[in-house]
């Protein structure tokens, strides 16, 4: 028996050596390695290669496996965090700042005579500046617009949408483009509408989810209700957008991923609301004959859209943070921003690089005649609504009610009323149990909760 166990142990040791060998190695070639925790979008590597070329003493590598916010915090607190990491929303930034992980680079930038506030589109400011201190820089930004598949329009004999159209126009157009087979099963939808876009619609209809200071949830206002109702009606009344059950049917019909972008490319939806960053992934199809157009949503009471993007921050605990700063400077530089705009990975956060002829008309892609749309939209964009009294994962009461609406399980007005009530309860509970929030609440409302 002893022999058996020893033999097994030996085999396991050999396998362990094999396992360790198989861990992918990174060759630094004597340079300082910087680790950037970001998404594995293929364009990212080209951006990294450009940085490495311009900074021969540094070796920037991407770590795509640990991008999730909590993981970054946990790892950084455990001492093994990345040098650079990405942040996607203001409440994430707050978490990174308050847990002491994001490095305050304000003084570094001032000493280099860099004034970020004047460089960037105003919508981006709140995403990387917290309480007047700079904690990172936006590596890209953008808004959403309505993509449409010209081939599908042509096949259905429907004229392309024109700017200045109304919601009724949109619904009519989508109806003409929605096709069903003999048994009534949908084979093509006129519109792909991510239900989360409802947040933007609410702002466009003159409502809000929260009061501007974030102390109260007001999603039950008539304007917000009108917006949510429209969102819901697209699926269940006009039936031009897929409901959750419809989506499950569409996905098995082919295509390599799911989501509006794939369905748009495959012609399973005629129009889809998405960002400029889709373009980079869709170019493989446009090369094969896909023809795209792009147009803003119909205008409503308020002329606005939501802007979003990725911010790169430096890990305050990193011993290489001084070198990592050069990456932030790279993000502000011409070579990077031109590459970004060419790649169509969103658009540059820096104004001057978008106000160029090269942005409007990319010589390598003359068919992309819609960049003026992106330019006009980013100028009316505003950041997504947040409340400082709710953490990201505490939007659950709100999300739950919206899910019920999305699943057609509850009438809109009732759901929004309950959402507002539950969310306000949660806000007050947080205010009561956290000294910091209690002070903030008092400061904003002049009242003790």
């Amino acid at each position: 028996m002893r022999a058996l166990f020893v033999a097994c142990f030996a085999v396991l040791v050999v396998l362990s050596l094999v396992a360790w060998q198989l861990v992918p190695p990174i060759d630094d070639q004597g340079k300082t390695r910087l680790v950037w925790s970001t998404d594995p979008n293929p364009v990212r590597q080209a951006q990294v290669d450009l940085f490495n070329k311009l900074n021969p003493d540094l070796h920037l590598v991407i770590d795509p496996n640990n991008t999730d916010q909590q993981k970054v915090i946990v790892q950084s607190q455990g001492g093994v965090g990345p040098d650079l990491f990405d942040c996607y929303a203001t409440e994430q930034l707050e978490a990174f700042v308050l847990t002491g992980i994001a490095w305050d680079v304000t003084d570094e930038l001032v000493s280099r005579d860099i004034n970020v506030q004047s460089m960037v589109w105003p919508v981006t400011l709140s995403s990387f500046i917290y309480h007047d201190r700079v904690y990172g820089f936006p590596r890209n930004f953008g808004t959403n617009a309505l993509w449409y598949n010209k081939n599908v329009f042509d096949e259905a004999g429907v004229p392309y949408p024109k700017e200045g159209w109304t919601w009724d126009d949109l619904i009519e157009t989508a109806k003409k483009l929605t096709k069903r087979d003999k048994t009534g099963r949908p084979v093509r939808f006129g519109l792909y509408w991510d239900f989360n876009t409802t947040a933007e619609l609410i702002l466009q209809f003159g409502g809000r989810q929260f009061t501007p200071d974030g102390t109260k949830c007001i999603i039950d206002s008539p304007e917000a209700a009108e917006a949510v109702q429209l969102s819901r009606d697209l699926m269940y009344k006009h039936k031009v957008a897929p409901s959750p059950v419809d989506e499950a049917a569409l996905t098995t019909q082919g295509g390599w991923g799911s989501g509006g972008m794939t369905w748009l490319m495959k012609g399973q939806v005629a129009m889809a609301y998405g960002g400029r960053w889709w373009l980079n992934l869709m170019r493989s199809e446009t090369a094969k004959g896909l023809r795209l157009g792009c147009i803003p949503l119909p205008k409503s009471k308020v002329d606005t859209v939501i802007g979003y993007g990725g911010i790169t921050c430096i890990n305050r605990h990193s011993p290489r943070r001084g070198k990592a700063l050069r990456f932030l400077l790279f993000l502000m530089s011409k070579p990077y921003n031109e590459l970004l705009n060419d790649q169509a990975d969103g658009m540059s956060a820096i104004r001057e690089y978008c106000l160029t002829e090269r942005f409007l008309h990319n010589p390598e892609h003359p068919e992309e005649d819609y960049n003026h749309v992106w330019l006009s939209l980013i100028q009316i964009a505003q950041p997504a609504e947040i409340s400082p009294f709710l953490r990201g994962n505490e939007m659950a009461p709100l999300r739950n009610q919206l899910d019920l609406i999305k699943g057609n399980l509850k009438p809109v007005k009732q759901a929004l009323r309950d959402a507002a009530r539950d969310t306000n309860e949660r806000i007050l509970r947080n205010v009561r149990t956290s000294p910091r929030l209690r002070d903030l609440y008092e400061e904003l409302t002049g009242r003790r909760p």
Partner: protein
């Protein structure tokens, strides 16, 4: 007699029907794995055209071979450690006399009732603090100790006649030798049972790898399948091929070792 033959026939019929029901999903999965993607949505389970290259495509889309290796590697280590430490502990509980032995054993048994969830959170925190998150060690070590294994092997060892140890001791053997040369060989069926159980259990383990694994090169088969489904989930035919490959080792291992399996379950249930 005719009555008996009729009832036998009826029994066969029902068993065949149940077996078909049990295996139907597997057949569907197998057939679907050979289909082209649009064919998946056709009502006919049989592929209209056969695409065995789906299986190769799986290996191209995701590092499936790596997932296999990880699952086998980690399960092998866990099995080895569990069998070894449980055997030693079972020997201690069953063949050696020492004060407090039975009290401690009852404590072991009591902990088997605690839901795994309760210990997951503190264990995770421990791994974070020991910097063992996202590592092979972190996946292997916490799973390498099993109260169930100790319990099972103790049952086996209790059934070995004590005269054997006594004879060995009279011959001057020390406990370590008695353990290896007398008890362990006699406990071979028990060891085999525990080994099979443990291996198959760790192979399918989901919760712990889910919270521990962050890097792609470390993923075990269940985690790999999960990510495969969420990233390429719409390629249903490939998913089915991957599922077939995931499931075959389990079936093969079970069919080969079912004698131990059956005995293990039946023995484990006899309340000690």
């Amino acid at each position: 007699m005719k009555h008996q033959a009729k009832s036998r026939l009826a029994t066969h019929a029902v068993l065949i029907f149940l077996s078909v029901l049990a295996l139907l999903p597997f057949f569907w999965m197998l057939l679907a794995s050979f289909k082209s993607l649009p064919d998946i949505s056709s009502p006919d389970p049989v592929p209209s055209s056969w695409h065995p290259e789906n299986y190769l495509a799986v290996f191209r889309q995701v590092p499936f071979a790596r997932y296999y290796f990880n699952s086998v590697f980690i399960s092998a280590w866990i099995t080895f450690l569990v069998v070894l430490t449980s055997a030693m502990a079972a020997y201690s509980f069953s063949r050696l006399q020492w004060p407090g032995r039975d009290v401690l054993f009852r404590l072991y048994i009591a902990t088997m009732m605690i839901p795994g969830l309760v210990t997951m959170i503190p264990n995770f925190s421990l791994m974070v603090n020991l910097r063992l998150l996202d590592s092979y060690q972190g996946l292997i070590v916490p799973a390498a100790f099993s109260a169930f294994g100790t319990f099972l092997l103790r049952q086996f060892m209790l059934s070995i006649h004590p005269s054997l140890d006594e004879a060995a001791e009279i011959d001057g053997a020390r406990p370590w030798q008695v353990f290896w040369d007398v008890i362990m060989p006699m406990a071979k069926p028990g060891l085999a049972t525990l080994a099979i159980f443990t291996f198959m259990g760790s192979y399918g383990s989901f919760f712990w790898p889910l919270v521990m694994i962050k890097s792609e090169h470390l993923r075990t088969l269940p985690i790999g399948m999960l990510y495969f489904d969420s990233q390429y989930g719409r390629e249903t035919n490939l998913i089915m091929a991957a599922s077939v490959m995931s499931v075959i080792p389990l079936i093969a291992l079970f069919v080969a070792g079912q004698k131990f399996f059956v005995r293990g379950i039946q023995l484990g249930a006899v309340k000690g």
